[in-house]
């Protein structure tokens, strides 16, 4: 890596497997994944449809359990943690952007964003102030009191991103967060995610878009539930030098 990384990863996946179903309908969604994500690092996961990207992310976020292997978030193995401990970790440390937004239809944009903070014991007033700031950052301050079904897909997606970024989340997991966004808006979301990671968070981004994956420090290629290859970013200084000029 180009930047010195703290010793302990925020997320560590060890020999992770996930089998859906059994017998003839058995699907090996993940086959022995090892992945460390350190503070300050943004990792992009790319791969064809069905290669296991969402499965990997839901397990990393404690929303699904692996068939075998370990998921360690900030030093805690969440596969063996108690339900209460897991719930607290998910509220405080993990921000999750779902592929299909997953907003609560009966709550406004601001309420959707502030809910996890209130559940965590923050006062409603403080949580709202924080939520409004997060929505503002997404360019949605004016839609704070709208309900999800009164917003466009791209707007809902940005509310979901605000919800994942609000507070001091150490681990941000985003599944196709740019799917419903135009190129410019998608880019600003990536710039924001990037700046969160630069400020010390660890991020995992699932995307089909190479242009968005390119914001990551590392791009991991998934095929059939296994990591088959990865890139690291090089020093910018070494770039664009030594090119051969052609007349």
């Amino acid at each position: 890596m180009t930047t010195p990384l703290a010793a302990q990863p925020v997320l560590r996946l060890q020999n992770l497997t996930r089998v859906h179903g059994s017998g003839a309908t058995e699907v090996h969604a993940l086959r022995g994944i090892d992945l460390d994500v350190h503070p300050g690092e943004l990792v992009a996961v790319m791969g064809p449809s069905g290669s296991g990207k969402s499965t990997l992310l839901t397990i990393a976020g404690g929303l699904d359990a692996p068939t075998s292997g370990q998921v360690i978030v900030e030093g805690t193995d969440i596969t063996t943690a108690g339900l209460k401990e897991l719930a607290a970790l998910r509220r405080r440390s993990i921000g999750y952007v779902f592929q299909d937004y997953n907003l609560i239809p009966a709550l406004t944009a601001a309420e959707n964003v502030s809910l996890p903070r209130e559940l965590d014991g923050m006062s409603a007033r403080k949580a709202r102030v924080e939520a409004l700031a997060a929505l503002e950052e997404m360019g949605l301050g004016h839609l704070a009191d709208r309900f999800p079904d009164e917003m466009s897909g791209g707007q809902q997606q940005r509310v979901a991103i605000a919800r994942a970024l609000v507070g001091d989340r150490r681990l941000v997991l985003a599944d196709e967060p740019t799917g419903a966004l135009d190129s410019e808006t998608g880019e600003s979301v990536l710039a924001l995610l990037r700046s969160r990671c630069d400020a010390g968070a660890a991020g995992v981004l699932v995307t089909h878009e190479p242009r968005f994956a390119a914001w990551a420090d590392r791009v991991v290629f998934l095929r059939d539930g296994a990591i088959v290859d990865q890139t690291v970013r090089s020093e910018a200084d070494s770039l664009l030098t030594g090119r051969v000029a052609d007349a």
């Binding site: 290629f221 890139t231 690291v232 030594g242 052609d246």
Partner: protein, 236 residues
């Protein structure tokens, strides 16, 4: 890339000398296409021969100055007005390589694709980081420097170009998976017919799990020695 027209465009801002043109050209394009002074003088010589620039004395330090002529201005207008020709595409090494890899004995085309994909995405990561820096610089300075804006446009062109390539590689891979269910027939002149299938070992109609060539990932690391070949290879 047209150095000729690039130099004319710079000379339209006023007389310049050779190494000055080189510096200005590179700060516009972020040294993406480095020029040497020799190329600049050769090009100036040709422009002068064609009546598009003329020598115009010396500056205080004794540098020979060149100035654009009326014919040069007319040529420059035409250049800006006319689209760049894309109907006779420049030779593309990657397209040629993949075309040759189809049915090449002992070549795992999906490994070729993956090693290119790694390289291309890595180049995008590098360009994107430079772009983030360029954007930050533009936000910092109230007065937008012309060169900074030009450099950003060039970087974004490189990003979109590598993106197109990465998408095309993804497409090639799924295309090949699709086609490998029905073997590719060898060309009539190809006597070594046994090696002509896209995926050796899969007969026609062989069951084929999606993405079954996971081994095509090849070795990680060692991103190959072709740095720069893509961005530099657009000569004209």
């Amino acid at each position: 890339m047209s150095i000729r027209h690039g130099l004319l465009a710079l000379l339209e801002h006023g007389p310049r000398y050779g190494s000055q043109l080189r510096t200005e050209f590179e700060s516009r394009t972020g040294a993406t296409w480095p020029l040497n002074v020799g190329q600049v003088y050769t090009t100036l010589g040709r422009l002068e021969r064609d009546g598009l620039v003329g020598q115009s004395g010396e500056d205080g330090a004794g540098h020979a100055l060149y100035a654009i002529t009326d014919a040069g201005r007319a040529e420059l207008r035409t250049w800006f007005e006319k689209p760049v020709d894309r109907t006779s595409p420049a030779r593309d090494e990657l397209a040629i390589k993949l075309a040759m890899a189809v049915g090449a004995p002992g070549v795992d085309i999906r490994a070729v694709i993956q090693s290119q994909r790694r390289h291309t995405v890595k180049a995008m990561q590098d360009y994107t980081r430079l772009k983030a820096q360029a954007l930050a610089a533009l936000e910092d300075t109230a007065s937008r420097e012309r060169d900074d804006v030009a450099w950003l446009l060039v970087l974004e062109q490189l990003i979109f170009q590598t993106e197109a390539e990465a998408r095309w590689l993804d497409h090639c891979e799924s295309r090949l998976i699709r086609l490998s269910a029905t073997a590719v027939a060898p060309a009539p002149s190809d006597t070594a017919s046994a090696s002509a299938a896209v995926e050796p070992g899969h007969g026609p109609g062989a069951p084929h799990a999606p993405g079954a060539g996971a081994g095509g990932g090849g070795e990680a690391g060692g991103s190959g020695g072709r740095r720069g070949a893509r961005a530099g290879g657009r000569g004209r």
